[in-house]
Assembly symmetry: none
Homo-oligomer: 189 residues x 4
DNA sequence: CATGAATGAGTTTTCATTCAT
DNA sequence: TATGAATGAAAACTCATTCAT
């Protein structure tokens, strides 16, 4: 566990937190450095500049989210089981990586995202569209445009995470389970 | 149609557009002035400063949204009819005031929102919680914490608006009707 | 008494007051217009610009001060009587034209004074130097460099005016008379 | 001799010079930075803003002036000796800290002075009033209101400093001594 | 490698001045 | 002639980035 690795992680943690709360332009580098417990100059030993920092984080976590959620998705079970896996995977990811969902959602359409970030975003969307379309072919999911279906389901997740962050609810096992049932009721045929 | 009113409206339109797309800190005043077609100094004849501008818009539109959606809400009809009214009202509002939903959602948790803005936000949330709780007492809506139920439903709306803005879907009458059915399926007992 | 004359006078009065209190750069034209009770544009119908306004006032009052003080200066009396006349003349001028002494003193060395203003300033100084030198030749005044003698005497006047403006003293007949005696004691041989 | 201390001192020197010559509002920060030989942003690393800068300087030098002049004031000598000490102390201060007297006099009544600055000003005035009143009780000084006496004496000092700055006189030992005699003649009973 | 003082380009904001009414 | 809304150049101030230590 070298010092470099630790400092870099401190910076990344602080960046997720501040970018997720105040946004990219609302977060200054000296502020970020202070929260990370490093000097402003140190950030530039690990990231070329502010844009490189957001993009690095966006790509890392967008891919991480995809990976973790897919790992929770049983490939041979029923569609219902798969959805259950995804839903639980999303909340597990959020619980294990606090602030990351906010960060990803906030920076979703930033003008500072580079080609790589946009590509990863587009790919993950494409994969999900295909998944939904597949379930529709099998007459499992309701027959709406996949982007609409996905938007409603994923936004529901986002909304619940936000509601918890704002202190309105507590996302425990029971609530995750209940909400999973309701969202399934929304999207299933 | 005085010049003053027109300039102020131009500024407000440009601010809704740019703040909604790039955020508060991501929008510069000269940029905003250019889009509004006025000189930078002119903005300050109508709004004390940048913060006063966002807050003015936030308050105006948050209240407008509440008013318009409630006006579409039949007070003596069934709960189902009421929900249908609200859902249609939300999309009508979005269609009539493009960009405003994005603006309100983006600035929802800004550190630059003043007390007045936070109060309006809190009030609108309180009213909706009460509405949901009422429907739960009558065993119409599913028995989840009202904030959770509301978060899922409202976020679904937000998600659909975003999906349209990003070009994935077209929010026509048919789709609004279908999504209304699906969201109702999610929240009803 | 045309409207124009009145407005111009209102502007001049406001300018003397504000320039004398906050200085040239510390006074804004809209502010000045408000105190004068006119629109900002109106000032520019009477004065080419802000600099022309100060210079006009500086020249007018510097000359007026010279004239009034000289009119109180008996040409055939004793030097003592002449000084008494000047001293009384200065305070009479200050009483009749409140704020003007502050204005003249404040703007004494402004970079915005034009050639004409500087010439009037220089002339009035030259005349006074000659007067002092004359009294020294007659062995009436103490033998210091005229600028030094003048600086001490005139500054004493300024100091008294300031002290009254700040509320420390009341410049009534008695005090003017007493201070005249003391300043004469300072400068006489 | 750290770089930080030097830069801060450069800024303070430039500020005394420019504020003393052109006034607070007549001096721009970039201009000040250029004279100080630093970047505009550097000023803000040492002073919160322009007002904090003037106030810091005003307080520092007002107190320094008081201290230095009092140190030259023999406590057991005659009143005459005390006055001589003060008068010499004032000119010594002016010679050692060129521009500071102009700065203090110019900013004496600025609207940008904060409570702390006004308090220091008020305190120094109060102390001097008491000193004068004490000398009057002992029938040393002439019986005028202390503020009037003080105004005349201190203004004479200011007038002499200004006259030198404008090139009319040279404040050498001899002239300081002679003016001291004349001012004493003015204020003594 | 890490730092943080220094920088200057860019931001928010002010204000002298203009000009359509 | 008087106005005041509008302007844009210039002011105060911020902050991403650099570089000497």
């Amino acid at each position: 566990m070298s010092t470099k690795a630790t400092k870099r992680e401190d910076i990344e943690r602080a960046a997720i937190e501040l970018f997720g709360q105040r946004g990219f332009h609302g977060t200054s580098m000296p502020e970020l450095a202070k929260v990370a417990g490093v000097g402003p100059g140190t950030i530039y030993r690990h990231f070329q500049n502010k844009e490189a920092l957001v993009n690095s984080l966006y790509q890392k976590w967008k891919m991480q989210l995809g990976t973790e959620v897919y790992m929770n998705l049983p490939m041979q079970g029923s569609w219902r089981a798969r959805f259950k896996g995804m839903w639980r995977g999303l909340f597990a990811f959020n619980a294990n990586n606090p602030g990351v969902i906010d960060f990803l959602d906030f920076h979703h359409h930033g003008t500072y995202l580079d080609e790589q970030s946009k590509m990863i975003e587009a790919q993950s969307v494409t994969v999900l569209f295909a998944l939904v379309a597949g379930a529709q072919v099998e007459e499992i999911l309701v027959d709406l445009p996949p982007p609409a279906l996905l938007a409603m389901a994923y936004s529901s997740f986002i909304g619940l995470v936000r509601a918890e962050r704002e202190g309105y609810i507590q996302l425990d096992e029971a609530l995750i389970s209940l909400t999973e049932e309701r969202v399934w009721a929304m999207i299933r045929r």
